[in-house]
Symmetry: C2
Subunit: 335 residues, 2 copies
Amino acid sequence: MNPEPMRRAIALSETARGTTSPNPPVGAVILDARGEFAGEGVTQPPGGPHAEVMALRQAGEKALGGTAYVTLEPCVHHGRTPPCAQALLDAGVSAVYYAVPDPNPVAAGGAKTLEAAGVETHEGLLREDVERGPLRAWLHYARTGRPHVTWKYASTLDGRVAAADGTSRWISSPESRAEVHGIRATLDAIVVGRGTVLADDPALTARAADGSLLPRQPLRVVVGTGEIPAGARVLDGSAETVHVRSHDPGEVLALLTGRGAVDVLLEGGPRLAGAFAAAKRIDRILAYLAPALLGSGPVALGDAGVATITGMHRWAVEGVTMSGSDVRVSATPVH
Amino acid sequence: MNPEPMRRAIALSETARGTTSPNPPVGAVILDARGEFAGEGVTQPPGGPHAEVMALRQAGEKALGGTAYVTLEPCVHHGRTPPCAQALLDAGVSAVYYAVPDPNPVAAGGAKTLEAAGVETHEGLLREDVERGPLRAWLHYARTGRPHVTWKYASTLDGRVAAADGTSRWISSPESRAEVHGIRATLDAIVVGRGTVLADDPALTARAADGSLLPRQPLRVVVGTGEIPAGARVLDGSAETVHVRSHDPGEVLALLTGRGAVDVLLEGGPRLAGAFAAAKRIDRILAYLAPALLGSGPVALGDAGVATITGMHRWAVEGVTMSGSDVRVSATPVH
């Protein structure tokens, strides 16, 4: 069993991140009966064809007797598009490898449908790569009905996000800042507190190294009861901005769900991050720790409802790598 | 050229750490003329023989025409012991590999003396391993006249060293705590602020997993103008304790130098660490970052004299590894 076509499907699906919500960014590769490449595709924006259909279109008659590699179990329900399991049957595919079973009770059953029609199906090829990678946010959304929230912050080793006078440009390395712009371009929404808008006046756009806007921009969400100053960069029109007049994470996430957001980045400040942490609504921490000391100034996380050490929120390190001169830590909650 | 004997000399020297100050913990290995093992040794406590002499004693006549591997350039000065370069000449060694040249102007010249007598000398074998490892603190001391200070702390990812009510047991993993006890046993002194004694009542001893005292105990140094409570664990007699009635890092380090301390661990609290950081008297950061969030409570580093972002103290990450469930970051200052 050759994992390479699935690797290709995963790489393809990465290119669709941020364009498919609330649908999953899926990748598909079709090999012909002799095992030669026949076609590939990714999920199109909502209302457009799914990955399997795109790959089958390219493969044409070569799909007959061939093998499909799909990052997610093919769907069987009629939504805005016809079910993909049926499209694979119609094309005469003889085997289907899929990485992750569909957690959605309405869509699930694709494998059963295919098996019943005599197609060989294999679940779990590179499953972890897909679950931790391109489908992570969507799988969380499918399971919980809530967007997946990554809390990203950049601090010094001693936990400061700005100096005593509020200045913070720049604590993290150029590589880390460029990476965050790349991540923003794959997301549905960026959430910040109004305090961050007042303090830093961030644009919250995804920009290239030369400052130009990347093709895709996430929704900008400012949380807080007070007004956003008229001249604030988040109101510059370069991307859509929503103002949520509540600090309640539940209300913020409900609004985001209503707008089809699946993959959300929480960028600050300490008060808002504390509220999300207290509500257990952070699904991943992405920390850029600069090897630097400040000794004073605001910290990354404000009150999270923890009074004593036994109430400490425990997480597990998922990965530690360097990002330029910074230490990049990714962590997930321990339940 | 075979690095293995030098690797063995380095491993030997590690065993002498914490027993030789203010002398360097050196390791030596002697091979005979055919390249077979002949003898090995480490620096004995002050007043005792140096590593080369210990290795030559074991090698006996086998040293004739042999090769010596030493982590530090052999000394030429008469201190409390005769010079090692002369001992190597007397034994008839024909070649000497040493990792690091002696930075001490009084002791230096060993290689020159050996070369003048017809012994082949080679500098720099595994030099970086020795400079970053067993001789790190001593080389710093030889260059600056001050002890090498490692600031060690354990914090949550959001930079807290205790919860809002002051409780802190335990933020770091059992593996990290065991490692710190092992490190303490190789050091000359541990320094804490009086506030830490009042808040946590630490014993500051090096203990095994079962709580028993390890054979070697560093000097315990409590910094602060007020009294140490009579029942404090640092006064339990299990190791020597000194009370320095000053927060000035210069005064603390001068006292330590006067007591022959070369390798010092600064363990807190925030105020004392801030004073050392402000005075640029921290030579290494050793941070154990637990994947946990508190959102309130004291932070690792207090005021370090930084008012704005351009004054931020910049460091460089030297290594990032896991320690149990924690992220262990080692960093050195950027000058």
